[in-house]
Symmetry: D2
Subunit: 135 residues, 4 copies
Amino acid sequence: MSRAQQMLETHPRALSLEASVLAACIDECFVCAQTCTACADADLGEPDVETLLRCITLCLNCSDICLSTGGVLSRQTEFVPDQARIVLEACIDACRRSAEECDHHAQHHEHCRICAEECRRCEEACAVALLALPT
Amino acid sequence: MSRAQQMLETHPRALSLEASVLAACIDECFVCAQTCTACADADLGEPDVETLLRCITLCLNCSDICLSTGGVLSRQTEFVPDQARIVLEACIDACRRSAEECDHHAQHHEHCRICAEECRRCEEACAVALLALPT
Amino acid sequence: MSRAQQMLETHPRALSLEASVLAACIDECFVCAQTCTACADADLGEPDVETLLRCITLCLNCSDICLSTGGVLSRQTEFVPDQARIVLEACIDACRRSAEECDHHAQHHEHCRICAEECRRCEEACAVALLALPT
Amino acid sequence: MSRAQQMLETHPRALSLEASVLAACIDECFVCAQTCTACADADLGEPDVETLLRCITLCLNCSDICLSTGGVLSRQTEFVPDQARIVLEACIDACRRSAEECDHHAQHHEHCRICAEECRRCEEACAVALLALPT
């Protein structure tokens, strides 16, 4: 069980959605934030850095958005499902764009292949959490 | 002229929208992020902290979302207007919620009055930038 | 193997220290950032929130510092060991303070017990990375 | 008077140092974080991006460290001067490194000249705050 799930299981308030679904999404947001930071940095070290400018930008954006999404979802004491919804939608959009761009470079750069994979996992975990939000 | 505008005026690429509009939005995002962090902290120091839990949560969320929005807008080399749009909408939503909650406490807590004012300014700057985005 | 380690193993440049040591530290920084955000939020939901103000503050500080440390360590293309050193020292300090404060509440709040444990793990991973930095 | 100072002047607790000194430091941390994010992005758009990799990395690091420093200093309810001290030292170090690197490119890139200037301002504001901390 991840730290995020352990923390949710011991939260003093009733959760707005299932702990395992919420934890999976929070975990992916933080892992994806790190992976995207690392991919932007690895791109900088490649000989063809000029072809990776869009990848760097979308990864930096995705990292920022994943962190703010992970933060909002981690706050369950006064959780506002409608706020989580719009934030998750922004995160799904950012992960999809980052994954699509990384895919273009996956054959030449293994870090882009791994990053695309992680962005897709995060996108899916966010989509599952979005569906599980109370209406 | 703010630092953000100075940086935009010297950017090597053509900007996707007017520098003054973009800079005003970026400036408010970073100021609002700080103000919301400070308001959440000031709430903690109040004797009636138990009545301010929602204010603290919405301010922490707003701070996170403003920072990621300010980051995305600051990246103009490979700017994606459709990504900026969804991020700005999330930021407008967060600022509005934070302003409304702070308003409830503005009579008793001057820091909530100032924070509500700043959140409204940021909401407006984001709305102006949103309208100025290329379609 | 964690995503962070996968990314380090595929980095185009030679790493400044062993990938497994660096990855373990980066992983703990991001997990600890999330755990501290969650602990500060869980504290807000407790009936004795007024006794947890220091815990909330130190956890929010630790979360911020862990994220910036995880970011700095993730950037290996132009890594500066002397910068990493001072950042790791700030992170070790923040984790220790947060762990000590959470310990005071661990008997009453299970989330504080878990958070203290995570802060100690992160402190240790940072200390190991600090020793492994090239001089 | 900046928002940060307005918020400090209305804080419910006694401040650990003079509001104007603290506010000046917090303001520069947030402005410098934005400026460094913008400089890293502008570097990406330059034809000689391969010569700017170190500048990009140090600016991204400086941005992260400025944000965590600005956050720690903004939290005054349970302020720990010894924690602020170590965080300010890391920020001073990051600003100095970023300023020095930007200086190398200031003749060719106006955004680097402006960023170096902002990093120096932030470094100075942090140094003044460091001296003003209670012992």
